[in-house]
């Protein structure tokens, strides 16, 4: 049985139109995924719906076969699903250490918290150096590392990361992708959403292509980029017809 099943999920914001028009994806434990697709395909919306920030209008989300529709974000997190949104969303006036402590908000065992924090510092040595610094004063890459490190505090089963390279210099982005690749060795299933499809797909096993709110196709990550359908999605049909002459 898959870790997470998303079946025919329809979702949108407020009274607005459906952004997701019926998505079905299946996430297996231990595999890493990257969701790609053009702007407005519903990639971030899908993550938000899974994380409990957006109630699906229809369809079903199950985790280990348990229906999770309409769960709150804190309930999804307690179930092992951790969400890392786009804009390095941390607590700017708190120190790095306090941010990590907040990451372990759901953990009451202090010894366990300390142990996890040491683990995070081991994975991200730069955070150990910066531990007493206010998170808001860090560079973009360091802030992204705080949000990733914070996600590790709960030892999640599934981490969903939205556009980790957004606004980062290419070299810094590469470091972030390297860390994300390392998540798999920690036994964490990763679902990535990335505008930079090439980089994103390089970091994972399996690619899922989304367009207009539903899944277009999926397959092994290295095969996705070579697929002619990807080109059509990103560049549009006009270019494709021009090719034909």
């Amino acid at each position: 049985m898959a870790l997470l099943e998303v079946e025919d999920v329809v979702a949108g914001y407020g009274a607005g139109p459906d952004i997701l028009t019926g998505v079905t994806v299946s996430i297996e434990e231990g595999t890493s995924y990257c969701i790609v697709g053009p702007n407005g395909a519903g990639k971030s919306t899908l993550l938000r719906a899974i994380a409990g920030f957006l109630k699906p209008r229809a369809g079903q989300i199950t985790l280990d076969g348990v229906v999770m529709n309409g769960s709150r974000p804190d309930q999804m997190l307690a179930a092992g699903v951790c969400f890392v949104p786009q804009d390095a969303s941390l607590f700017p006036m708190m120190t790095v250490r306090e941010n990590l402590t907040m990451g372990g908000y759901l953990i009451d065992d202090r010894a366990l918290l300390r142990q996890r924090m040491d683990m995070v510092y081991e994975t991200f040595p730069i955070l150990a150096e910066r531990r007493a610094q206010a998170a808001g004063t860090l560079s973009g890459g360091e802030q992204q590392m705080v949000t990733l490190g914070r996600a590790l505090m709960v030892e999640p089963r599934l981490v969903m990361i939205d556009e980790p390279s957004l606004g980062l210099a290419p070299m810094i982005a590469d470091q972030i992708f390297e860390k994300i690749r390392g998540f798999r060795d920690l036994g964490i299933t990763v679902v990535l959403v990335e505008q930079n499809a090439v980089k994103g797909l390089e970091a994972v096993d399996w690619g899922i292509v989304l367009d207009l709110g539903s899944k277009e196709f999926e397959g092994p990550a290295e095969g996705i980029l070579a697929d002619p359908r990807i080109r059509e999605l990103y560049l549009g049909k006009a270019v494709a017809s021009k090719d034909k002459g």
Binding site: G14, A51, F53, R72, P73, D74, L77, A78, C82, F83, V84, P85, S89, L90, F91, P92, M93, M94, E98, T101, M102, G103, Y105, L106, R150, V154
Partner: protein, 292 residues
């Protein structure tokens, strides 16, 4: 002459302490929920009238009635929040809706108070209302001294709760980044209800203390809310430190203006200072650039 200035300074600080507590409750609500609670001063009045009723009927000392008004207002705050606010959360016009909602609440409270206690001036007169202490050449009105000491004690208590408890840390986290708080598993609805309760319990304490400092009547809250809004905008919306410093600054400034120019000019000090500060620093003294 020096003693005279010191005297004015002390009087300003005493009043500022009470203002600081009133403003902290209001700015806490804004910080956690992005709600500008226009009914805050009306809730302060509810506590003042409860204190009045307890004093008239049971001769309960207004400072002791804090024990009643604070938990009562805390409960009222949590209840009102859970009843009225969650349904507005989905609205894209959340901030505007909450302004209308709290304005409506203020009108309702004013109406109920007028109905129950009539519109005439009330005040609570315990023994210490008309006495004063002198330290050296400085004279301290006992009522203001007591009210100020209690206010500072409560502010320190609030700081300890926010700084050193897990729930307090969650409240601060929610103030800094609501979405991030949700991501780490904070139940922001519950935290908001709790913060609303905390802010309201400070309003409760303020009501009990104001009851023996100033005479009051049901429509008095409009004056107070205008003053409180000036204080929290000056300090930076959502910054408790800012609210406290803003309150002390403005209270002292208005004490000096009263002394030098005359009491008629005292209220305008608040708005004039506010005007100048906003020209120079639109986000207030300690506010982050506003993102609603």
């Amino acid at each position: 002459m020096m003693e005279h200035w010191l005297q004015i300074l002390v009087l300003g600080l005493l009043l500022g302490g009470v203002y600081a507590m009133m403003a902290s409750g209001l700015t806490l609500l804004f910080g956690v929920m992005r709600v500008v609670n226009l009914a805050h001063a009306a809730f302060i009045l509810i506590a003042a009238y409860i204190t009045y009723a307890l004093f008239e009927n049971l001769t309960l000392d207004p400072m002791i009635s804090l024990v009643v008004t604070m938990p009562l207002m805390f409960g009222l705050g949590v209840g009102l929040y859970l009843l009225l606010f969650p349904r507005l959360e989905e609205s894209p016009r959340y901030v505007e809706m909450t302004v209308l909602l709290t304005f409506g609440l203020a009108l309702i409270v004013e109406g109920l108070l007028t109905f129950t206690f009539t519109g005439i001036f009330r005040s609570v007169r315990p023994d210490y209302a008309a006495t004063s202490l002198t330290i050296g050449d400085i004279f301290l009105p006992t009522s203001q001294l007591y009210a100020s000491l209690i206010s500072f004690a409560l502010l320190i208590l609030l700081w300890v709760v926010l700084r050193f408890t897990k729930t307090g840390t969650a409240i601060r986290a929610t103030m800094q980044n609501r979405a991030a708080a949700q991501i780490v598993g904070v139940n922001v609805r519950w935290i908001s209800a709790l913060a609303f309760g905390l802010g309201m319990s400070l309003a409760g304490a303020a009501g009990s203390l104001l009851s023996f400092m100033f005479p009051f009547f049901p429509a008095r809250h409009w004056q107070w809310i205008a003053l409180l809004l000036a204080l929290i905008v000056l300090g930076g919306m959502g910054s408790i430190k800012g609210a406290v410093i803003g309150a002390l600054l403005l209270a002292v400034a208005s004490a000096f203006v009263t002394d030098l120019v005359g009491p008629t000019w005292s209220p305008i000090t608040f708005y004039l200072t506010l005007f100048v500060i906003l020209l120079v620093r639109p986000q207030g003294l300690f506010g982050a650039k506003v993102r609603l």
